[in-house]
């Protein structure tokens, strides 16, 4: 039998626990990658490239795979997107590049995400370093929060020659890539290796440091020529229903985080679980629970299938994992005994007329209460904003939009000239995602360079001219989002 041949186990229950948490999509073999790359038409002015918020030159990186120039391919990706390995795995490609592929209708779109992963994996395996720290400009920038936006901004600034320090409250950098993306979509090693590449550009990484506690923001601003705020979002909000504080009710993001940082066999999970919410984080929680071994996982969502915010492919994935869905169901009380969860009391809902947002309002059906017996309730109904921190920024004249930090879209600069921001904490409209955060970081890095040096960005540093016209890129991201109103629940905008 050929050495590379491994029988595929399609059914989760036939796999070991470790196998169940391997990446859902296996890496492409060299031959698969070349065949797929050769399917690419190499469109002129390709729509995939326009649809990518970071404008990766997709036809070029794919062509380079087809000619065996995988090193060049990875470089093409990294020039536009330092989070290429994460984006290859977690981007909603159906909504972005692959959704725009001209082969979408007649054939099937090119597997752009998986090809990107092929190139990024290759560069990782070969330990190829593409960029170096630029000649020192003698200027310092602080990054608050080392998620995709912060890491990208840090990396691009280091390439320009800034002395950059990232402050991260968690133990490891990477933000949601490290802690929030389910492990069978993106292994934690990938996220950490990506952050390591930023460190290798000469960026100082200070983890376990909370700004506002360990170091005051005032100090940070005083010590640096600019500050980039990319603090993301916080924990899942309260549902304000009785019994919510009972043992067995958990925050969805904490549940996902456990699978990223703990040995799988150490994770406590219920056998009969209710997941509240129907966004992508809720789906992640439900599918993790199934793969850990929960026998009955029910998703509780107060609206119908048509309104659910999860991506369609995630919904399909959950169905395939044996997750059941209880649509038009509103939780009203967590029931329990001795402080432990024993059931979730719900009420049936009906859909009424659309509200001003266009979504049909769900209204309770009188006398329709029922109880779903369960031993664990996972809340995944969006994320709170870091309100105290944002309030602190208000002291510098920084404004907010719907509770998010307000920035100028062309520069990602706040109302304070030294403070820039990006990532989920500014995503008051449009899709909160890794790739949008990455682009935020790029935009800010460019603006910081131009503002602090008074010069246009050096030739060849942020390569494509389209990269420089940021607005259409982000607008495209928004347009896609408005076209298909789906929001990643892990980073829900409310």
């Amino acid at each position: 039998m050929a050495e590379h041949y491994k029988p595929v186990k399609y059914k989760a229950w036939e796999m070991s626990l470790e196998e169940r948490f391997q990446e859902v999509f296996p890496p492409l073999s060299e031959r698969e990658a070349v065949l797929e790359a050769n399917r690419c038409l190499y469109c002129y002015d390709a729509p995939c490239m326009v649809a990518c918020p970071t404008h990766i030159d997709i036809p070029t990186f794919i062509r380079k795979i087809s000619t065996g120039n995988v090193t060049g391919s990875a470089r093409t990706i990294m020039e536009a997107n330092l989070m290429g390995a994460s984006c290859a795995r977690v981007c909603p490609v159906q909504e972005l590049c692959e959704g725009a592929c001209v082969l979408e209708h007649d054939e099937k779109p090119i597997m752009i995400g998986r090809l990107q992963r092929y190139a990024m994996d290759y560069a990782d395996e070969k330990k190829i370093k593409f960029f170096n720290k630029g000649k020192s400009l003698g200027m310092k920038v602080a990054i608050v929060g080392a998620g995709p936006a912060g890491l990208t901004c840090a990396g691009e600034l280091a390439k320009f020659g800034f002395d950059v320090t990232c402050y991260e409250r968690k133990m490891w950098p990477g933000g949601l890539s490290t802690y929030g993306i389910v492990v069978f979509r993106e292994p934690v090693e990938v996220a950490r290796a990506e952050a390591k590449k930023i460190e290798d550009l000469g960026v100082t990484m200070k983890t376990g440091v909370t700004i506002g506690e360990d170091i005051q923001f005032d100090q940070l601003l005083k010590d640096n020529d600019a500050v980039f705020v990319s603090i993301g979002l916080g924990s899942v909000p309260h549902m304000d229903i009785p019994g919510e504080d009972m043992e067995g009710v958990v925050d969805g993001l904490d549940f996902i985080e456990e699978t990223k940082v703990k040995p799988l066999s150490d994770i406590k999970y219920g056998n009969r679980i209710c997941v509240i919410g129907a966004g992508n984080t809720a789906i992640d929680c439900a599918t993790i629970a199934r793969r850990l071994g929960s026998e009955r996982v029910t998703m509780i969502y107060r609206r119908s299938e048509a309104e659910m915010p999860a991506y369609h492919f995630e919904y399909q994935f959950a169905l395939g994992e044996g997750v059941s869905f209880s649509f038009l169901t509103q939780p009203v009380e967590v029931l329990g005994k001795d402080g432990r969860v024993e059931g979730l009391k719900c009420v049936r809902m009906d859909l009424a007329e659309p509200d001003e947002s266009g979504r049909r309002v769900a209204v309770p059906v009188p006398n329709s209460e029922f109880v779903v017996p369960c031993d664990m309730v996972i809340k995944a109904i969006g994320q709170l904003k870091h309100t105290p921190f944002i309030a602190k920024l208000g002291e510098y004249g920084i404004k907010t939009v719907k509770g998010y930090i307000a920035v100028d879209g062309k520069t990602n600069r706040t109302a304070h000239e030294k403070i820039f921001a990006g990532g989920d904490c500014i995503r008051s409209k449009g899709e909160a995602s890794t790739v949008m955060a990455t682009q935020d970081g790029k935009i800010a890095a460019r603006a910081i360079y131009e503002q602090l040096t008074g010069k246009p960005i050096p030739e060849g540093t942020l390569k494509k001219s389209t990269d420089m016209t940021i607005d259409p890129a982000m607008e495209k991201g928004y347009a896609l989002c408005e076209h298909k109103p789906r929001v990643h629940a892990a980073v829900t905008t409310k």
């Binding site: 065949l35 190499y42 002129y44 002015d45 390709a46 007649d106």
Partner: protein, 445 residues
């Protein structure tokens, strides 16, 4: 159902599909297995002078992930003793009396040697001979194969030697490694050959390994030219076939041609036959996929014939040959322009960039508002008045029938170049040419 059988100047075959003289017809086992699979005939791997082979013998070219669009080889003629080959030829013929068994022959350039081997082979009962004047490697260096085929006088002389003793049809196989294939073809005709076959393989080096710097195929660190065949050579073979088939001297002889060079499917075979081949020979495709491909070749050709009402192969052999012409006889008044069907267009814009970078800059990207999408992309639109009708855009378009080259009448005079320079020899001067163009509204931008 159509009758696929052919009479190739006395060689009868149940269908026009023959194995070419090559590794697939190396032994009685293979030839009989091929007949069982449905092949109508087989030209035995060349017998003759003693040889020793080398490793590796084959080099291939892959294209965009598809294997073997071309194959070359440095394998020599049969390295099995003549007696063994003769015994197996006789057995194959005995077991398959209705199939065509043809012996390919190559010996040194001596009359006695040729005549002796022909006589010995005749005793096996084979249906005919093919004289290998084409092998471009190994044998040619020893004065055989293409060394004979490249000199028309040798071709004629050796064929005459063979014709003196042969009682069965003799096919002369031509090499493409010449400037004008019609010359050796005429030499064979002059020597009263019973038939021609073409093309043998083309001189080639398959490639260089970028890691080891070795030549492909690598023979112990060295490499050299070998015979190139496979789908990639088909257009060359079709050209050489049509050159011979439309040559008046050849046509007078009325002898058949067995065509080969890149035949892989029944469609390929039909094309060769439309250009004058009576049978076709196949090697690379069976080396890639095995004998079983003949099933579809028979079935596909038969269905194609039924659909068009052709009862016998003779109904269509040579049917496209009258269309073979020379540039000087093309109609200068025939005009076509590219038309893009925007209902089918997927906006890959390859037509735009091909036209703009490398052709005549007559496709624009325009905002057409053909959909109600907010982010509608630009559409390629042909400026017909500037389109020269080169057909590049239609060639690069990945969607079937999206760009069609449509015939239009611009009022240009329907005249050929040959007629024009006869009637108006002055157009051979640039100023007169410009005058002629202006008068006839021929605008070139």
């Amino acid at each position: 159902m159509a009758d696929l059988s052919i009479d190739f100047n006395g060689i009868k075959s149940p269908n026009p599909f023959w194995l070419a003289s090559a590794p697939p017809s190396n032994s009685g086992y293979q030839v009989q297995k091929a007949f069982e699979a449905g092949w109508g005939g087989a030209v035995w791997k060349t017998v003759g002078a003693p040889v020793l082979n080398v490793c590796n013998r084959y080099g291939t070219i892959d294209y965009k992930g598809r294997k073997i669009i071309g194959l070359n080889n440095v394998e020599l003629i049969s390295d099995r003793p003549l007696e063994v080959n003769l015994k197996e030829m006789a057995e194959a013929k005995r077991n398959f009396p209705n199939h065509a068994v043809i012996a390919s022959v190559m010996v040194e350039s001596k009359k006695e040697a040729w005549q002796e081997i022909i006589k010995r082979i005749e005793d096996t009962g084979v249906d005919g001979f093919e004289l290998n004047f084409g092998c471009p490697h190994g044998m040619s260096e020893r004065g055989m194969g293409s060394a004979m085929g490249q000199v028309p006088e040798y071709t004629c002389m050796v064929t005459e030697w063979v014709m003196e003793v042969a009682t069965r049809p003799v096919i002369v196989k031509l090499t493409p490694n010449v400037t004008d294939i019609v010359q050796p073809a005429r030499a064979a005709v002059k020597a009263k050959a019973s038939a021609l076959s073409l093309i043998n393989t083309i001189n080639s080096i398959m490639g260089v390994d970028l890691d080891s710097f070795e030549i492909k195929p690598n023979v112990g660190g060295k490499g050299g030219h070998g015979g190139y065949a496979g789908p990639a050579v088909k257009p060359i073979a079709l050209h050489l076939l049509s050159s011979v088939a439309s040559d008046p001297e050849y046509q007078q002889s009325r002898i058949p041609i067995s065509g080969m060079g890149g035949v892989e499917t029944w469609q390929d075979a039909v094309e060769f036959m439309l250009l004058g081949a009576t049978s076709v020979q196949v090697c690379t495709a069976v080396m890639h996929f095995g004998f079983r491909i003949v099933d579809d070749m028979i079935d596909g050709m038969s269905n194609w014939m039924d659909e068009r009402g052709f009862k016998n192969c003779t109904d269509f052999i040579g049917k496209s040959l009258p269309r073979i012409s020379s540039f000087g006889d093309f109609d200068l008044g025939f005009q076509s322009v590219a038309r893009i069907d925007h209902n089918k267009c997927i906006q890959c814009n390859l037509c735009f960039i091909a036209c703009n970078d490398t052709a005549h800059q007559c496709i624009d990207l325009k905002d057409m508002k053909l959909t109600d999408e907010v982010t509608e992309r630009l559409w390629p639109v042909v400026r017909e008045e500037d389109c020269v009708g080169c057909a590049l855009c239609a060639s690069v378009c990945p969607v079937d029938d999206c760009i069609t080259m449509t015939e239009i009448d611009t009022g240009r005079p329907h005249i050929t170049w040959n007629q024009l320079i006869k009637e108006k020899p002055e157009v051979l001067q640039w100023d007169k040419m410009i005058e002629y163009r202006e008068k006839n509204h021929i605008h070139i931008h």
